[in-house]
Symmetry: C2
């Protein structure tokens, strides 16, 4: 049977049932994959000639052998460096996009990170930008010639937005760019790929029935994280310098952490967010944030600065008219001596040893740099999770279940849908009012807790930032994620948070850290989740996984968080290229 | 039967039924009024010795005969002038508060504007402030000694918060100040009265079964507006220089307009809002705003500036950390030549002639001052009303009905509850998501409409502000309000708007204005509401009513709106005292 989109309905309502009438999910999946691979196959010169044998877990270095020196130089630039070198005409937009198309093609073969591919458009656009540069000697915008990759559920005009749902495959060609995408185009960025996200989007791994599973190139038995896991795998392999993700519980920060990248979740309504496809349009009890994943801290600011330069609040009403203050990122208004508070353990799930070690290293580095470091006392992490799950599923999970008729649940979908509260029944309107009050009460408690640190610092201020794990584990084996509390907590609080890399875990070099001088950790699991996570720890399993942490600031202090991230980066001797 | 609060439950849930078990609403009302009047009666020297005969409609000048010259001087100051004179020790806090207690006592007798009275506390606090000044020579804060009146549903610690509900009378003594009240105290303000609001708060008049009806002192057959109608009556009579109101559909702006005052509704989340008592706690689909009513434009800025000076976002999480930019209010960043757009008619209900005349006068004044003036094309005013009513009643009006068991509906309650959508049934959660999407779609349309004016201006910018009626009528006869669209529209859009006075309507001097050169008005009513409002017009009925307008700016441009209000005020030769 030939698949015809006309048979299968369009738009979001009631699509699933009609798709099912036409064609089974394995057929849709086969066709989506075939279409993507055919587009990649058009440039045979960029394709891997043979698969990497399955027993080789670390594929992160595979592509080195396939690139020219010039390509290597280009794809090893961070975004900031690329736009500088494009502006100074050291590189043409054409060679930059081609190098990234090449690496993206290999990245796909290694990790299964791509969904939609539009290299031809990208190369045509790059040629146009090069002509503009030739004719005017000027860049066409602040991101002139920069390749940017886009998470699947963000609308890119003319491309399917299947978002990991069989029901949406071939039914959701975007008629309009998301606001961020529109700005990227104005700014001169070159769009060339969309990247995988998991079924439901509510997953910290990346797996769906449309394109299958995305894997971690540092260790293919591990997840690259999710829901922006196509991005994290692609960017870590240098197939993209900068990617757009989204985060309503950790979906930027966790994949960034698992892949050793930088990732930033701003406060709600600071960065454009309109033009996403996903369930629960109009749900406002808990709102996600769109943001960047990249290979340097400065690229996070580059993205935010560019977005706000275009005054997006004039076209996207929820956005706050708060212009970007780059001077703060660069250090203005950031005191010389800061006080950081470290969250060692959230009171629910103790982090694995390499994460505790990273916290300790960060502490030592900050003290050595002259800053103050105190302990952050965890507050209500289990309660925060219990509440945010209710907010995720105000409709009792109805819409998720409807969307997945004949689209079997992948394991992480099954896990999260097992958390659905209220016996799977929708809450009443009045119950949703009460849940909003609970959320505000939580936010008041967090604010008061933060204000209260003033009595513990010697700076005369409350703590400037919290340093925290981004997750309790390094990138875990597929389908074993069980605890979001280190990231989802800050979505519930609506505080900005950035992830940064600290180290790589090498099983062969591992020795257990001693953090007893810093904090007392529980010897016995405090709950079933912690029991599960504790039992996961084995240095061999996580071999080669990046070790990352998270820095958190007060709501709407995006610039200050990125400014303090620079402070931490310098203390840790993290170097940009 | 003696009323004992212990018999009747406390808190909000299920109170009404239990109150009814104890005592009937007329008894509760009698007791509330008796208690208030007893407190006022303690200062017999401030009370009117006899009632003003009922046939005298205009009571606005009555109190002149009862005040000393010094008292008159004090109560005729605006808030800005008062804080200056208190700071320079021209007045003591004690004499300032006593003068206002005196006038408030008379205002109550003339208009029934007060609910809770706490003169003793106020006088004690003023004495404390005077001692502080004597000892230090310094003010205790930016509002040192300023009397500020508080709308009933805003929590003031230790005082009942009956909010126009029988069920809440004597059951709702606040245990904590609202955030605004807390800041007022820190800033040195002196609190002395709370003021009437209507049953449900969803009314642009002021009438309830606890304290009865509040009347317009310029013409007692008219309403002073609502829901902040106790404030507007009191401030117009100089019984308060500055009062706190709230506005979710016009409840600051309409009473300010009906009483010839200045009133300001900021964008949501700019001004502290926590600590209000009212139905629908946790409802976020449409959110009200707390703001000032006063007798000068500069007092609106004084209030906002003071609130934000205390960094309330550190304790009230929804608030935006956007510090107050007084320099913008004072003219910085406001172009010399502005372009204003006038909304003559919202396409649903044509304004009464004095309002059209005021628009025309404003237009002439702005043109004479060198500004540009274009027409604002109305967009979706009926649709906006139809939508906002759904958002007001997401629960199908359930909570309102529950609260009013044995608390009969006053006429305006009956009118608004007749607007309840969905057959009085609560919406489902998924329907509320769709309504949120509708609201955002509306906001996008308004933003695009505003952006689109750029092609019509000669300034190179879109219009800087919209000048609009605040209502279709002047203060109407009691129980006849039928159209909120001129104000509620900007709540739905979440744009800041300030009301300012233009004139007083004198029946004896009235002649119909000719606005035909500016706009074509419909000759035949376009709908039943307009038919009703058209038929209301009679210059005699509205004799002595103030004529006011509204200025609106883009979301979160509070300072710019107040800066442009200054421009309009100067063009109209409005003078502060």
């Amino acid at each position: 049977m030939v698949f015809r989109t006309d048979d299968c309905g369009k738009g979001r309502q009631g699509v699933s049932a009609r798709v099912v009438d036409c064609i089974s999910w394995p057929e849709i999946r086969a066709r989506k994959i075939r279409d993507r691979d055919a587009l990649l196959g058009r440039n045979a010169q960029w394709c891997l000639k043979e698969d990497v044998p399955e027993h080789i877990k670390d594929v992160s270095q595979v592509l080195q052998a396939h690139l020219t020196e010039r390509e290597k130089e280009i794809v090893h630039c961070d975004a900031t460096s690329l736009v500088e070198r494009l502006a100074s005409r050291r590189y043409t937009a054409t060679e930059v996009i081609k190098a990234h198309c090449h690496v993206a093609t290999i990245s796909q073969a290694l990790t299964n990170c791509l969904t939609e591919v539009f290299f031809d458009d990208a190369i045509a656009r790059a040629a146009e930008l090069d002509r503009h540069m030739d004719e005017t000697g000027q860049v066409s915008g602040p991101l002139h010639g920069l390749p940017v990759s886009i998470k699947d559920h963000i609308n890119v005009k003319g491309h399917d937005t299947s978002t990991g749902y069989i029901a949406w495959a071939y039914n959701t060609v975007a008629t309009k760019d998301a606001v961020t995408v529109e700005i990227l185009r104005k700014a001169g960025a070159v769009l060339y790929v969309k990247t995988a996200n998991p079924q439901t989007l509510l997953s910290l791994e990346t797996n769906n029935n449309v394109f299958g599973r995305t894997v971690n190139p540092y260790n293919r038995t591990l997840t690259p994280g999710g829901s922006s896991g196509g991005e994290s795998a692609l960017i870590a392999l240098h197939g993209s310098p900068l990617g757009l993700g989204t985060d309503i519980g950790g979906s930027i920060r966790v994949p960034a952490a698992y892949m050793g990248l930088y990732g930033f979740k701003a406060s709600v309504a600071r960065i454009p967010h309109a033009g996403l496809r996903g369930p629960h349009d109009g749900m406002e009890a808990i709102i996600g944030v769109l943001g960047p994943l990249a290979r340097s801290a400065r690229d996070l600011a580059l993205f935010c600065r560019t977005m706000l330069q275009y005054e997006p609040w004039l076209i996207e009403p929820p956005l706050l008219e708060i212009p970007w203050k780059q001077t703060v990122v660069d250090g203005a208004d950031i005191p010389q001596r800061l006080c950081f508070a470290i969250l060692w353990d959230d009171g629910v799930v103790k982090p694995h040893p390499p994460i505790l070690d990273a916290l300790q290293r960060t502490k030592r580095a900050l003290l050595a740099a002259g800053h103050e470091v105190i302990n952050w006392v965890p507050l209500d992490h289990q309660a925060a999770w219990d509440l945010i799950v209710k907010l995720y599923f105000l409709d009792g999970g109805e819409e998720y279940r409807e969307l997945q008729i004949n689209d079997p649940m992948v394991p992480q979908t099954e896990w999260i849908l097992n958390q659905v509260p209220n016996g799977g029944k929708p809450f009443t309107v009045r119950e949703t009012f009460r849940l909003n009050v609970e959320r505000e009460t939580f936010r008041c408690r967090v604010a008061a807790h933060w204000n209260g640190t003033k009595s513990q610092t010697t700076t005369g201020r409350h703590v400037d930032a919290v340093i925290s794990p981004a997750a309790a584990t390094l990138a875990p084996p597929h389908d074993t994620t069980r605890w979001w509390g280190y990231t989802s907590y800050w979505n519930l609080a609506d505080y900005p948070a950035a992830v940064y890399p600290v180290a790589h875990h090498r099983a062969s070099q591992y020795s257990p850290p001693d953090v007893s001088a810093d904090i007392t950790l529980p010897q016995v699991p405090r709950n079933d989740v912690e029991r599960f996570v504790n039992s996961q720890w084995d240095p061999e399993i996580y071999d080669n996984a990046p070790v990352s942490l998270q820095i958190i600031g007060r709501r709407l202090n995006e610039e200050k968080v990125l400014g303090m991230l620079n402070v931490v980066d310098r203390a840790l001797n993290n170097v940009h290229n």
